[in-house]
Symmetry: C2
């Protein structure tokens, strides 16, 4: 790696060998999980669960080996501040801390609680009855609190510790300021859109879009963005995701709707953004602690940048429309004049995963406030449904008809994932700030997009984001790439520009 | 398990837990290998090799743990002769012997020699130049001899030890008698067919067979045979194979030729036979030493039984033809009168994998004799090409044009697999003997096949073969299922009957 701090001395070979095996075991589990979502026969679950448990056990034992911790501390003694080695130590310690400070009993209890939690949540959601989920969720929250106590250091709050799992180094106070500011600014924008006299045509993306053609079109866009199908692939799955087993084996999944091309196309573009990040991670640091993405927020910034800031832009559609028409010769009714406003809708709704880009972050703000209150001891699990409905009423002006449409809609809490939601909005903010910096460095990106030239943007992201792996924390990465700490300014500027463009409203 | 010897006491729970993890690691490797052949992006090889090496290392360490060997020996003390526990001990010891008696240095050297050997073989075959392969093959033979010395016991010869890896308990002397007898009997049959006045029409299976329809037809036949697609799947791959990760996750692969339906269909029926065996293995013994197939020969008997004895029979085609015509409405020229003789061709050729059923075993006999001489010290690697050509001239009456058509045609030796070839012919013999026994027990199978009723045969195989896993050695399994030791009688009777039927020749 030429970028970043001077390479200096690296970790000892023995450390690299041990860590490499741990990464190999994660990748093996990852491939089995990918297979489970994409190819495994319906009855394969029983055996698969045992195989995954064995792999997890082997990985856990390797992480717990005293030799590994000793090697990390030996690296720490030699690591100059700010060096690559110091980053290796930082990331290795982060991983080891979760393994060595959390008693095995607690890890096992959490695993069991997740299994029960998921089942209870599914049943509760099906019947729209929060009471069926409440005991399991109470247990999951208790165990997450205990986990946070085990891991807390440097005066971190419980929620800080939980956030840190997904967004290393993030603090609830900082994230809270950022999201609070964002919410205050977005609320009048959403209100202005509701009051505007124009409204997008709901059928602007409707038609008959055969699945094979959707795939061919989406693949050719992904390739134009720079996704390398010699180092990746795409398969159908019930939920779109991206998994990677090193930069040379990156797998996207997608699903589609034959009557509306948006879920298929924008799903693929989103996962392509994740996949481009994975394909751009530093090969030289593979199988080391800093060979991976900096954080979930940074990962999400890449998916949202390519999906929303590129894929929903007028410039992109100037290039993409003829390609679209070649793949869908019958879909003559799709035109940018009707489509673009629809792709930039701002209309409050109840379900996060179906929300438009204009209101999405408000859904995250609600969840962040509730989670934070939950782990500050200011909210009890039994009071969640009421607090949820009240928050939606206040923030989005809507009240869920029932708990399935409300507090039970997301899978995250049933998996014990508290502190995950904010990474979605951090992704939006980071994407906008990176995009603005790229525009400053590269000049008129729209002209390039309109010609199908996405390489300059990709190369900029490779250099400023992908190539660093987790050498820097997310905060530091953003500061170095954009010259500023993360704010919501660039994101809000984009939102305001879109509002002016598609709703004729200046706020 | 109700069949077989009284269950008695089982292995201790600790042994089952440790062995289960070892099987899980094999299954994880197996799934990664399946993925490598079916889905992995072209550039994924580097990372995949590392992951596989880590999994192999972890499995090896678990097999080497003194605790495991001690547990096996503790089971041995309690195991009544002929009990299930005794079989568990027998199979566990077989696996452990290969790990504990072969020095790590030798295992590593073999792995390296295989990598080099495969590369050298590919280059040599491409240029039809044995000299390019000779040094690597010499090394592979040396290492196999050393491996055999490490593992030899009870006066076993080097080739006995190598055979035992694929066909546990088989001895070169017994296999030699069986194959010698077979060769002597087949030779006049092949000669008689060559001299017969009738000859199959080479274009009796030709036409336009679109890949999706081939797959749909082959799948529906596989399902009729009893393959459960809720516990299995089928994917394209460069070479057809079957891998299983327990009986509930069995994966077939296939390839096809759009101008001739035979490679696709019979490839699938062959792998379906393997897959039916895997789906029928005893669930209660999963993740234990006897939960797997008895031997490669027995495995091959299942594939060849369904492919050849069922799939090429006139009764099968009485049922299958209308189905075939529904899938290929344009292929009116395909009719049993022309097709069946072609499916039972007897015509000497040079390439084993393209050989017809009537001459296939002669290819195996050649390889068996050469391998045996090689490991008896009666043949040197440098003399192989001449010995090969001479054997083909004598056995099949043909002389290879070059080494690519001759001694370099098979991949096996380049992988250090010596003693593998005989299992193909053992599969033919076992298939015929099982089929004859099933006919004795079940009566007129042809009438059932003609109605598409394959369940009685499958149930018979489930009961007499699949359900036993590796409780019995292959010899014992065949003796119990058929009431006799394995001979070539039933197989030769089938060959003679076919010769009479399709060539009008009685030998």
């Amino acid at each position: 790696m030429s970028a970043g701090p001077g390479a200096g001395a690296g970790p000892e070979p023995r450390f690299l060998a041990l860590w490499g095996e741990i990464e190999d075991l994660s990748d093996a589990s990852g491939l089995l999980a990918w297979d489970q979502e994409t190819h495994m026969p319906p009855h394969g679950h029983g055996a698969r669960g045992k195989i995954q448990a064995t792999l997890a056990g082997v990985r856990h034992a390797k992480l717990c080996a005293p030799e590994l911790s000793e090697l990390v501390e030996r690296c720490a003694e030699r690591a100059a501040p700010g060096s690559v080695l110091a980053a290796q130590v930082r990331e290795a310690r982060r991983v080891l801390r979760r393994v060595t400070r959390v008693p095995e009993r607690l890890a096992r209890e959490r695993a069991e609680a997740v299994t029960l939690g998921h089942a209870a949540w599914s049943a509760a959601r099906a019947r729209a009855d929060f009471a069926l989920f409440e005991p399991a969720l109470t247990r999951l929250v208790e165990l997450a609190r205990e986990q946070a106590r085990c891991l807390a250091e440097d005066g971190a709050s419980a929620y800080d510790v939980l956030l840190d799992e997904y967004e290393p180094g993030a603090r609830a106070s900082t994230v809270g300021l950022l999201l609070g500011e964002l919410e205050r600014a977005l609320t009048p924008l959403v209100a202005a859109a509701s009051e505007a006299s124009v409204a997008p045509a709901p059928d602007a993306a409707a038609g008959r879009f055969p699945v094979e053609r959707q795939l061919a079109f989406a693949r050719s866009v992904a390739e134009s963005f720079g996704f390398d199908f010699a180092r990746g692939r795409i398969d159908p799955a019930p939920h779109p995701f991206c998994s990677a087993f090193g930069p040379d084996d990156v797998r996207l999944t997608w699903r589609w709707d034959e009557s509306d091309f948006r879920p298929g196309l924008f799903g693929v573009l989103h996962e392509t953004g994740h996949g481009l990040y994975e394909q751009g991670l530093p090969a030289a640091w593979q199988r080391t602690p800093i060979g991976e993405a900096a954080s979930l927020g940074v990962h999400e910034s890449q998916s949202r940048l390519w999906e929303n800031l590129v894929g929903r832009s007028p410039a992109f559609w100037r290039w993409a429309l003829p390609l679209f028409q070649r793949h869908f010769p019958g879909a003559r009714e799709v035109n940018p004049e009707r489509l673009l406003p629809l792709l930039h809708s701002v209309r409050p709704s109840l379900i996060r995963v179906e929300a438009d880009q204009g209101t999405y972050d408000l859904h995250v703000c609600v969840r962040f406030r509730l989670e934070r209150a939950l782990f500050a001891g200011e909210l009890e699990v039994r009071d969640l449904p009421g607090a949820w409905d009240e928050a939606y009423r206040r923030t989005l002006g809507l009240t869920p008809r029932d708990a399935a449409q409300g507090v039970l809609q997301d899978i995250h809490w049933s998996m014990g994932a508290f502190g995950y939601f904010p990474t979605y909005t951090l992704g939006n903010l980071i994407a906008a700030q990176l995009f603005a910096a790229a525009r400053r460095d590269l000049g008129d990106l729209d002209a390039a997009f309109a010609l199908g030239e996405f390489r300059p943007l990709l190369e900029w992201l490779r250099t400023h984001v992908h190539a660093h792996g987790s050498l820097y924390t997310a905060d530091e990465l953003v500061r170095r790439a954009t010259g500023r700490v993360l704010t919501s300014d660039d994101y809000l500027a984009l939102r305001r520009a879109e509002l002016a463009e598609y709703y004729g409203v200046a706020v």
